[in-house]
Protein backbone atom coordinates (compact mmCIF):
# COMPACT_ATOMS: atom_id res chain seq x y z
CA UNK A 1 0.00 0.00 0.00
CA UNK A 2 1.36 3.43 -0.90
CA UNK A 3 0.97 6.22 1.64
CA UNK A 4 -0.08 9.75 0.68
CA UNK A 5 3.35 11.15 1.36
CA UNK A 6 5.18 8.59 -0.80
CA UNK A 7 6.46 9.35 -4.25
CA UNK A 8 8.46 6.48 -5.74
CA UNK A 9 9.95 8.67 -8.48
CA UNK A 10 11.18 11.19 -5.95
CA UNK A 11 12.49 8.47 -3.64
CA UNK A 12 14.45 6.90 -6.47
CA UNK A 13 15.86 10.25 -7.59
CA UNK A 14 16.69 11.16 -4.00
CA UNK A 15 18.62 7.96 -3.33
CA UNK A 16 20.75 8.63 -6.39
CA UNK A 17 21.25 12.38 -5.84
CA UNK A 18 22.04 11.99 -2.14
CA UNK A 19 25.09 9.83 -2.86
CA UNK A 20 27.04 13.09 -3.14
CA UNK A 21 26.07 14.05 0.42
CA UNK A 22 29.20 14.04 2.64
CA UNK A 23 30.87 11.67 0.18
CA UNK A 24 33.71 9.98 2.11
CA UNK A 25 37.34 10.11 1.08
CA UNK A 26 39.42 6.92 1.04
CA UNK A 27 39.81 5.40 4.49
CA UNK A 28 43.17 6.35 6.10
CA UNK A 29 43.54 2.85 7.56
CA UNK A 30 47.13 2.86 8.79
CA UNK A 31 47.00 6.34 10.26
CA UNK A 32 43.84 5.57 12.23
CA UNK A 33 45.17 2.18 13.33
CA UNK A 34 48.30 3.82 14.78
CA UNK A 35 46.11 6.26 16.71
CA UNK A 36 43.81 3.51 17.92
CA UNK A 37 46.78 1.58 19.27
CA UNK A 38 48.12 4.69 20.97
CA UNK A 39 44.71 5.50 22.44
CA UNK A 40 44.24 1.99 23.79
CA UNK A 41 47.61 1.98 25.51
CA UNK A 42 46.87 5.37 27.03
CA UNK A 43 43.57 4.18 28.45
CA UNK A 44 44.60 0.69 29.43
CA UNK A 45 46.98 1.45 32.26
CA UNK A 46 46.34 4.78 33.94
CA UNK A 47 48.05 3.56 37.14
CA UNK A 48 51.17 2.81 35.12
CA UNK A 49 51.15 6.24 33.54
CA UNK A 50 50.72 8.02 36.85
CA UNK A 51 53.40 5.88 38.44
CA UNK A 52 55.80 6.70 35.64
CA UNK A 53 54.80 10.35 35.77
CA UNK A 54 55.50 10.50 39.49
CA UNK A 55 58.85 8.76 39.05
CA UNK A 56 59.79 10.95 36.10
CA UNK A 57 58.91 14.13 37.93
CA UNK A 58 60.85 13.04 40.99
CA UNK A 59 63.97 12.43 38.92
CA UNK A 60 63.35 15.62 36.99
CA UNK A 61 63.02 17.54 40.24
CA UNK A 62 66.39 16.22 41.38
CA UNK A 63 67.84 17.21 38.02
CA UNK A 64 66.43 20.71 38.25
CA UNK A 65 67.70 20.99 41.79
CA UNK A 66 71.21 20.09 40.68
CA UNK A 67 71.01 22.40 37.71
CA UNK A 68 69.76 25.39 39.69
CA UNK A 69 72.31 24.73 42.44
CA UNK A 70 75.02 24.74 39.80
CA UNK A 71 73.64 27.98 38.33
CA UNK A 72 73.62 29.51 41.80
CA UNK A 73 77.30 28.80 42.37
CA UNK A 74 78.40 29.86 38.93
CA UNK A 75 76.81 33.31 39.22
CA UNK A 76 77.93 34.09 42.72
CA UNK A 77 76.31 37.15 44.13
CA UNK A 78 73.48 37.11 41.56
CA UNK A 79 69.87 37.46 42.70
CA UNK A 80 68.31 33.97 42.95
CA UNK A 81 64.94 34.98 41.52
CA UNK A 82 64.97 32.28 38.88
CA UNK A 83 65.63 29.63 41.51
CA UNK A 84 62.58 30.71 43.47
CA UNK A 85 60.49 30.34 40.33
CA UNK A 86 61.66 26.79 39.74
CA UNK A 87 59.37 25.56 42.49
CA UNK A 88 56.39 26.30 40.23
CA UNK A 89 54.84 23.33 38.44
CA UNK A 90 54.66 25.32 35.21
CA UNK A 91 58.41 25.60 34.96
CA UNK A 92 58.91 21.93 35.81
CA UNK A 93 56.69 20.85 32.95
CA UNK A 94 58.21 23.44 30.66
CA UNK A 95 61.69 22.14 31.35
CA UNK A 96 60.53 18.54 30.94
CA UNK A 97 58.84 19.35 27.62
CA UNK A 98 61.84 21.28 26.32
CA UNK A 99 64.20 18.46 27.18
CA UNK A 100 61.88 15.93 25.59
CA UNK A 101 61.49 18.01 22.41
CA UNK A 102 65.25 18.31 22.14
CA UNK A 103 65.74 14.54 22.45
CA UNK A 104 62.93 13.80 20.01
CA UNK A 105 64.27 16.27 17.48
CA UNK A 106 67.70 14.63 17.65
CA UNK A 107 66.13 11.20 17.33
CA UNK A 108 63.88 12.04 14.35
CA UNK A 109 66.68 13.84 12.53
CA UNK A 110 68.88 10.76 12.99
CA UNK A 111 66.07 8.47 11.90
CA UNK A 112 65.55 10.40 8.67
CA UNK A 113 69.25 10.54 7.92
CA UNK A 114 69.66 6.79 8.44
CA UNK A 115 66.60 6.08 6.37
CA UNK A 116 68.03 8.11 3.50
CA UNK A 117 71.20 6.04 3.79
CA UNK A 118 69.04 2.90 3.58
CA UNK A 119 69.39 1.85 7.22
CA UNK A 120 66.55 1.12 9.62
CA UNK A 121 67.66 -0.87 12.65
CA UNK A 122 66.15 -2.02 15.93
CA UNK A 123 67.94 0.76 17.80
CA UNK A 124 65.35 3.15 16.40
CA UNK A 125 62.34 1.11 17.42
CA UNK A 126 63.61 0.83 21.00
CA UNK A 127 64.31 4.55 21.26
CA UNK A 128 60.93 5.35 19.72
CA UNK A 129 59.25 3.27 22.44
CA UNK A 130 61.15 5.13 25.16
CA UNK A 131 60.21 8.49 23.72
CA UNK A 132 56.63 7.31 23.29
CA UNK A 133 56.35 6.73 27.04
CA UNK A 134 57.46 10.29 27.70
CA UNK A 135 55.13 11.61 24.99
CA UNK A 136 52.18 9.99 26.70
CA UNK A 137 53.24 11.24 30.11
CA UNK A 138 53.41 14.76 28.72
CA UNK A 139 50.05 14.34 26.98
CA UNK A 140 48.54 13.59 30.37
CA UNK A 141 50.35 16.42 32.12
CA UNK A 142 49.52 20.14 32.35
CA UNK A 143 52.13 20.64 29.59
CA UNK A 144 49.43 19.51 27.13
CA UNK A 145 46.92 22.11 28.31
CA UNK A 146 48.20 24.42 25.60
CA UNK A 147 46.38 23.39 22.37
CA UNK A 148 49.46 23.92 20.17
CA UNK A 149 51.61 21.85 22.50
CA UNK A 150 48.95 19.12 22.57
CA UNK A 151 48.73 19.09 18.76
CA UNK A 152 52.49 18.75 18.46
CA UNK A 153 52.60 15.98 21.09
CA UNK A 154 49.83 14.10 19.27
CA UNK A 155 51.68 14.38 15.97
CA UNK A 156 54.83 13.09 17.65
CA UNK A 157 52.91 10.27 19.31
CA UNK A 158 51.65 9.15 15.92
CA UNK A 159 55.10 9.24 14.33
CA UNK A 160 56.74 7.45 17.26
CA UNK A 161 54.07 4.73 17.35
CA UNK A 162 54.74 4.05 13.68
CA UNK A 163 58.52 3.96 14.13
CA UNK A 164 58.21 1.69 17.19
CA UNK A 165 56.31 -0.82 15.06
CA UNK A 166 58.86 -0.98 12.24
CA UNK A 167 60.57 -4.27 11.63
CA UNK A 168 64.29 -3.83 11.18
CA UNK A 169 65.51 -4.23 7.61
CA UNK A 170 62.10 -5.34 6.30
CA UNK A 171 60.04 -2.24 6.46
CA UNK A 172 61.57 0.38 4.20
CA UNK A 173 58.28 1.19 2.51
CA UNK A 174 56.57 1.89 5.82
CA UNK A 175 59.54 3.90 6.95
CA UNK A 176 59.20 6.04 3.80
CA UNK A 177 55.54 6.56 4.60
CA UNK A 178 56.47 7.73 8.09
CA UNK A 179 58.85 10.34 6.76
CA UNK A 180 56.23 11.47 4.22
CA UNK A 181 53.77 11.81 7.09
CA UNK A 182 56.34 13.79 9.07
CA UNK A 183 56.86 16.13 6.12
CA UNK A 184 53.13 16.61 5.51
CA UNK A 185 52.58 17.55 9.14
CA UNK A 186 55.77 19.66 9.24
CA UNK A 187 56.70 17.76 12.39
CA UNK A 188 60.39 18.66 12.45
CA UNK A 189 59.94 22.42 11.78
CA UNK A 190 57.23 22.58 14.47
CA UNK A 191 59.42 20.63 16.84
CA UNK A 192 62.40 22.90 16.25
CA UNK A 193 60.31 26.01 16.79
CA UNK A 194 59.14 24.56 20.13
CA UNK A 195 62.72 24.31 21.39
CA UNK A 196 63.91 27.63 22.81
CA UNK A 197 67.26 28.98 21.66
CA UNK A 198 70.23 28.37 23.93
CA UNK A 199 71.29 25.39 26.00
CA UNK A 200 68.61 22.95 27.03
CA UNK A 201 68.51 22.68 30.81
CA UNK A 202 69.29 19.33 32.45
CA UNK A 203 69.78 17.79 29.06
CA UNK A 204 72.48 15.48 30.26
CA UNK A 205 70.62 14.29 33.28
CA UNK A 206 68.41 11.95 31.26
CA UNK A 207 65.69 12.69 33.75
CA UNK A 208 62.66 12.01 31.61
Amino acid sequence: MMLDNEDPKFDQWLRHAAQAYNAPRPTPRDEMWARIQAGRVRRAAPWLRWGLAAAALLVLGIGIGRWTAHQGTSVAGGTPVAIADTTGNGLVYQVAATQYFSRTETFLTGFRADLRAGRVDTRFTGQARDLLTTTRLLLDSPAADDPRMRALLEDLELVLVQISQLEAGRDNRNADLITQDMDQRSVLPKLRSAIPAGPVPVRTQGAI
Binding site: F10, D11, Q12, A18, A20, M32, R40
Partner: protein, 180 residues
Protein backbone atom coordinates in the same frame (compact mmCIF):
# COMPACT_ATOMS: atom_id res chain seq x y z
CA UNK B 1 38.77 -17.17 9.13
CA UNK B 2 35.26 -17.33 10.55
CA UNK B 3 34.05 -14.35 12.57
CA UNK B 4 33.69 -16.27 15.83
CA UNK B 5 37.28 -17.54 15.59
CA UNK B 6 38.46 -14.03 14.88
CA UNK B 7 36.63 -12.66 17.92
CA UNK B 8 38.02 -15.42 20.14
CA UNK B 9 41.53 -14.68 18.95
CA UNK B 10 41.09 -10.98 19.63
CA UNK B 11 39.77 -11.78 23.11
CA UNK B 12 42.89 -13.88 23.68
CA UNK B 13 45.04 -10.84 22.87
CA UNK B 14 46.15 -11.80 19.35
CA UNK B 15 47.31 -8.55 17.76
CA UNK B 16 47.16 -9.92 14.20
CA UNK B 17 43.53 -10.84 14.75
CA UNK B 18 42.85 -7.34 16.10
CA UNK B 19 44.19 -5.83 12.92
CA UNK B 20 42.21 -8.32 10.80
CA UNK B 21 39.01 -7.39 12.62
CA UNK B 22 39.77 -3.71 12.13
CA UNK B 23 40.53 -4.19 8.43
CA UNK B 24 37.31 -6.12 7.89
CA UNK B 25 35.10 -3.39 9.32
CA UNK B 26 36.90 -0.07 9.19
CA UNK B 27 35.66 1.02 5.76
CA UNK B 28 31.99 0.78 6.63
CA UNK B 29 32.48 2.37 10.05
CA UNK B 30 34.50 5.23 8.56
CA UNK B 31 32.00 5.78 5.73
CA UNK B 32 29.12 5.99 8.17
CA UNK B 33 31.03 8.33 10.46
CA UNK B 34 32.01 10.51 7.51
CA UNK B 35 28.49 10.65 6.10
CA UNK B 36 27.07 11.68 9.45
CA UNK B 37 29.86 14.06 10.46
CA UNK B 38 30.63 15.61 7.06
CA UNK B 39 34.17 16.33 8.21
CA UNK B 40 37.30 14.26 7.68
CA UNK B 41 38.95 14.98 11.04
CA UNK B 42 35.76 14.28 12.97
CA UNK B 43 35.13 11.11 10.99
CA UNK B 44 38.62 9.88 11.86
CA UNK B 45 38.17 10.73 15.54
CA UNK B 46 34.81 8.96 15.66
CA UNK B 47 36.15 5.89 13.88
CA UNK B 48 39.11 5.67 16.24
CA UNK B 49 36.86 6.03 19.28
CA UNK B 50 34.53 3.35 17.90
CA UNK B 51 37.32 0.78 17.60
CA UNK B 52 38.90 1.69 20.94
CA UNK B 53 35.54 1.09 22.62
CA UNK B 54 34.88 -2.03 20.58
CA UNK B 55 38.18 -3.62 21.65
CA UNK B 56 37.53 -2.59 25.24
CA UNK B 57 34.05 -4.07 25.26
CA UNK B 58 34.51 -7.08 23.02
CA UNK B 59 34.12 -9.38 26.01
CA UNK B 60 30.55 -8.14 26.39
CA UNK B 61 29.65 -9.00 22.78
CA UNK B 62 27.32 -11.98 23.08
CA UNK B 63 26.96 -12.74 19.39
CA UNK B 64 23.17 -12.21 19.28
CA UNK B 65 23.70 -10.07 16.19
CA UNK B 66 26.46 -9.85 13.63
CA UNK B 67 29.65 -8.18 14.81
CA UNK B 68 29.14 -5.50 12.14
CA UNK B 69 25.73 -4.63 13.59
CA UNK B 70 27.23 -4.34 17.06
CA UNK B 71 30.04 -2.17 15.70
CA UNK B 72 27.59 0.09 13.88
CA UNK B 73 25.63 0.54 17.11
CA UNK B 74 28.83 1.77 18.76
CA UNK B 75 29.58 3.96 15.74
CA UNK B 76 26.21 5.71 15.75
CA UNK B 77 26.39 6.24 19.50
CA UNK B 78 29.90 7.71 19.28
CA UNK B 79 29.05 9.89 16.26
CA UNK B 80 25.74 11.22 17.55
CA UNK B 81 27.14 12.02 20.99
CA UNK B 82 30.21 13.59 19.41
CA UNK B 83 28.13 15.70 17.05
CA UNK B 84 26.01 16.94 19.96
CA UNK B 85 29.18 18.16 21.66
CA UNK B 86 30.41 19.81 18.46
CA UNK B 87 27.00 21.46 17.99
CA UNK B 88 27.02 22.81 21.55
CA UNK B 89 30.53 24.17 20.97
CA UNK B 90 29.51 25.86 17.70
CA UNK B 91 26.41 27.31 19.34
CA UNK B 92 28.59 28.83 22.06
CA UNK B 93 30.91 30.25 19.42
CA UNK B 94 27.94 31.65 17.48
CA UNK B 95 26.57 33.21 20.67
CA UNK B 96 29.92 34.86 21.28
CA UNK B 97 29.98 36.16 17.71
CA UNK B 98 26.50 37.61 18.08
CA UNK B 99 27.41 39.16 21.42
CA UNK B 100 30.47 40.78 19.85
CA UNK B 101 28.44 42.00 16.91
CA UNK B 102 30.84 40.31 14.52
CA UNK B 103 28.50 37.60 13.28
CA UNK B 104 27.95 37.45 9.57
CA UNK B 105 24.48 37.52 8.09
CA UNK B 106 22.93 34.25 7.00
CA UNK B 107 24.03 33.32 3.54
CA UNK B 108 21.41 33.32 0.86
CA UNK B 109 20.54 29.82 -0.25
CA UNK B 110 22.40 28.77 -3.36
CA UNK B 111 20.14 28.04 -6.28
CA UNK B 112 22.25 24.98 -7.12
CA UNK B 113 20.37 21.72 -6.53
CA UNK B 114 23.34 19.93 -5.01
CA UNK B 115 23.82 22.65 -2.44
CA UNK B 116 20.09 22.83 -1.70
CA UNK B 117 19.92 19.07 -1.24
CA UNK B 118 22.82 19.18 1.16
CA UNK B 119 21.24 22.01 3.14
CA UNK B 120 17.90 20.19 3.23
CA UNK B 121 19.49 16.99 4.56
CA UNK B 122 21.51 18.95 7.12
CA UNK B 123 18.32 20.67 8.28
CA UNK B 124 16.51 17.40 9.00
CA UNK B 125 15.97 16.55 12.67
CA UNK B 126 18.87 14.41 13.88
CA UNK B 127 16.82 11.19 14.09
CA UNK B 128 15.42 11.56 10.57
CA UNK B 129 18.81 12.48 9.13
CA UNK B 130 20.51 9.49 10.74
CA UNK B 131 17.96 7.02 9.41
CA UNK B 132 17.97 8.66 5.99
CA UNK B 133 21.77 8.58 5.73
CA UNK B 134 21.96 4.99 6.93
CA UNK B 135 19.16 3.65 4.73
CA UNK B 136 19.08 5.69 1.54
CA UNK B 137 22.75 6.59 1.28
CA UNK B 138 24.67 3.81 3.02
CA UNK B 139 22.24 0.98 2.28
CA UNK B 140 21.57 -0.31 5.80
CA UNK B 141 18.35 -2.28 6.27
CA UNK B 142 15.68 -1.11 8.71
CA UNK B 143 16.51 -4.10 10.91
CA UNK B 144 20.18 -3.06 11.07
CA UNK B 145 19.21 0.54 11.75
CA UNK B 146 16.82 -0.56 14.48
CA UNK B 147 19.57 -2.48 16.27
CA UNK B 148 22.17 0.26 15.78
CA UNK B 149 19.92 3.03 17.07
CA UNK B 150 18.06 0.95 19.63
CA UNK B 151 14.65 1.60 18.05
CA UNK B 152 11.92 -0.59 16.57
CA UNK B 153 12.09 -1.39 12.87
CA UNK B 154 8.75 0.41 12.45
CA UNK B 155 10.21 3.58 13.98
CA UNK B 156 13.07 3.47 11.50
CA UNK B 157 10.61 3.11 8.59
CA UNK B 158 8.43 5.95 9.88
CA UNK B 159 11.41 8.26 10.33
CA UNK B 160 12.65 7.51 6.83
CA UNK B 161 9.24 8.25 5.38
CA UNK B 162 9.06 11.58 7.25
CA UNK B 163 12.62 12.46 6.23
CA UNK B 164 11.81 11.89 2.56
CA UNK B 165 8.59 13.90 2.86
CA UNK B 166 10.47 16.81 4.42
CA UNK B 167 13.11 16.68 1.71
CA UNK B 168 10.49 16.60 -1.05
CA UNK B 169 8.92 19.67 0.50
CA UNK B 170 12.25 21.48 0.82
CA UNK B 171 13.17 20.66 -2.78
CA UNK B 172 9.77 21.40 -4.32
CA UNK B 173 11.35 24.07 -6.59
CA UNK B 174 13.27 21.29 -8.31
CA UNK B 175 10.33 18.94 -8.85
CA UNK B 176 11.11 18.85 -12.58
CA UNK B 177 14.30 16.98 -11.84
CA UNK B 178 12.63 13.81 -10.61
CA UNK B 179 9.42 14.04 -12.61
CA UNK B 180 11.56 14.06 -15.75
Amino acid sequence: MDERDLINRVRAGDSIAERALYDAHVDRVYRLAYRLAGDEALAQDFTQETFIRAFEKLDTFRGDSALSTWLHAITTSVVLNGLRKVKRFHRREADLDTADGVGVGRREAEPDLKVRLRQAIDALPQGYRTVFVMHDIEGFTHEEIGVALGVETGTSKAQLSRARAKLRESLADFAGEWIA
